[in-house]
């Protein structure tokens, strides 16, 4: 992977100046590369990982929902999946092998919002054969980042 992408993936807020110092590339060259990546969809979006557990009064809940669906002729799962992932409540949607077909990550203000999404929007779809909803209790790690306790090195401040 290109150096620029690797650095941006771990810190998308890095300044062009620092990025230049790390990669040895000029500001214009960097801007050009980044634009290219943005345009061709390599860089999809710049986002921030927030540990919601740290926000006082944050009431959001997250649920993982397993969905069994009936595939349709010619288009397989894609059309049903599309129908489902277009719901704004669905944050992520994956087609999986195994005992069920789709795995959804759904966010809502509270348990009731998620429950009504399942019972009123998701389950009634004719191609949905069944659902199982798991509410998330605690996030330990997200996108490769450990959220709970960061390890710190315990080196002495000076050694030869």
């Amino acid at each position: 992977m290109d150096d620029i992408l690797e650095i941006l993936e771990s810190n998308s807020r890095i300044s062009l100046k620092d990025l230049g110092k790390l990669t040895g590339k000029s500001k214009t060259a960097l801007e050009k590369s980044i634009k290219k990546y943005e345009k061709n969809g390599t860089i999809v979006k710049y986002k921030t990982i927030i540990n919601r557990q740290k926000i006082k009064g944050d009431k959001g809940v997250v649920a993982l929902i397993e969905v069994k669906i009936t595939p349709q002729k010619d288009v397989g799962f894609d059309l049903v999946a599309q129908r489902i992932y277009r719901f704004p409540e669905v944050k992520s949607c994956y087609l999986l092998s195994g005992t069920y077909d789709l795995l959804l990550l759904v966010e809502g203000d509270d348990i009731h919002t998620v429950a009504s999404f399942v019972s009123e929007k998701l389950a009634p779809l004719s191609s949905v054969r069944g659902t199982a909803t798991h509410f998330m209790l605690k996030k330990y790690k997200e996108d490769g980042v450990i959220l709970v306790k960061q390890e710190k090195n315990k080196r002495l401040a000076i050694t030869c």
Binding site: D18, K21, L22, G24, E151, N153, L156, A157, I158, T159
Partner: protein, 382 residues
């Protein structure tokens, strides 16, 4: 009460400075000689499992055969070097022990040993403890802190018993190309000199691939005691595992000393080290991170007018203070008190290097950035 030989060894002049740093909280330190990464998890996991499985005993004096076999395979694959795991490899407690054993195994009282300066602090001290007389080969900034074959040729006229090489180097970060090593070997091969090659930082080589000294030719292999370990490249300093590769005769002699003074390396660490050799992906990631920090810090120091040669290995650079005409210890002390940034004075690595400081970039990019801001402010007031 204390033996003359030990009394003779000068306590490092910067010990006092180190104590100052250690007594100061919230220092940004560019003075640490070890990785800032914590040992990759898969290696730690292996150590935990070893404990759970009850591996708490001694191992053979030479170390676990499986680890020696893994090291042998690694050297064959990486450097096309063949060492028989049964009698040509010894597991030591860190590379420092390997160095101590090597010197004690080959030096007779009064023998001369060449140390290339600026040098790692332990080299002259261990040589003296082995009753050697140290011959210093001073390298110069103008020559990229590399050994000048002519100067070496001059020095070997004194018939030294051994030379200690260390590349990539602590404290300069410089390393040698195969061609340069061949020139050094050309000088050394004419005499009967043992080459003690400390290649602790071989995994942290940035531009060209590292050339292991014994891989130069058959004769070089026969005459070289190769030292390496897991501390730096694998971020395992606390595990204390090093190893020595050499001919049967030298390994046997070193094992003799090791078996009486150390018995064996810690078994848990040895098991973890086997796993380390399989963690090449993690090593590569760390190397990449160091490389980026190096590019950053070298550029910044040169921008500040502190001339810095771009090092090709390890995680150090040796920064010149010549422009400011200030002694390295004074510089380090003032910088510590005024800006709470710690660096190591060049004199720690040889008294002639009082116009240099050693910078370690095994520190997070944020710390490096803040250190640079502080140093810039400091220089403006100088």
């Amino acid at each position: 009460m204390i033996a003359k030989q030990i009394k003779k060894i000068q306590p490092s002049g910067i010990r006092e400075f180190f104590d100052l740093v250690l007594g100061m909280p919230e220092v940004i330190s560019l003075g640490v000689g070890e990785p800032d990464f914590i040992t990759p998890w898969r290696i730690r996991e292996k150590a935990i499992t070893a404990l759970e499985e009850g591996y708490t005993s001694y191992t053979s004096n030479q170390g676990l055969l499986v680890l020696r076999q893994d090291i042998s395979d690694h050297y064959k694959k990486k450097y096309a070097l063949t060492y028989n795991p049964k009698n040509e490899i010894l597991i030591t407690v860190g590379v420092s022990e390997g160095l101590d054993l090597a010197l004690r195994a080959v030096v007779n009282p009064g023998d001369k040993v060449i140390v290339v300066s600026p040098h790692f602090v332990a080299f002259p001290a261990l040589a003296q403890m082995a009753h050697a007389k140290v011959l210093y080969l001073l390298t110069k900034e103008e020559e990229g802190f590399k050994i000048n074959p002519k100067a070496l040729k001059e020095l070997v006229k004194q018939n030294p018993k051994a030379i200690i090489l260390n590349y990539p180097s602590n404290p300069t970060g410089i390393t040698y190309t195969k061609k340069e090593l061949k020139e050094i070997w050309k000088v050394l091969s004419k005499k009967d000199i043992v080459v003690i090659s400390d290649e602790t930082y071989d995994e942290l080589t940035y531009k060209d691939v590292h050339t292991s000294f014994p891989s130069l030719d058959k004769k070089a292999k026969a005459r070289t005691i190769l030292l390496n370990g897991f501390s730096k490249g694998y971020a395992m300093t606390g595990f204390r595992v090093g190893f020595v590769c050499g001919n049967k005769e030298i390994i046997e002699a070193m094992t003799k000393i090791h078996s009486y003074s150390m018995m064996c390396g810690p078994i848990i660490s040895q098991i973890a080290s086997s796993e380390a050799l399989r963690a090449q992906k993690e090593v590569k990631q760390m190397r990449l991170a160091y490389q980026r920090r190096r590019d950053f810090i070298v550029k910044e120091f040169n921008r500040l007018g502190l001339k810095t040669i771009k090092p090709q290995g390890a995680f150090y650079c040796f920064v010149s203070l010549k422009k400011y005409k200030i002694d390295s210890l004074e510089f380090a002390k003032k910088l510590l008190f005024q800006e709470k940034v710690a660096v190591v004075p060049g004199t720690a690595f040889g008294k002639e290097y009082s116009s240099y400081i050693r910078i370690s970039y095994a520190t997070s990019l944020d710390d490096l950035k803040n250190a640079i801001i502080a140093i810039e402010r400091f220089l403006n007031k100088l």
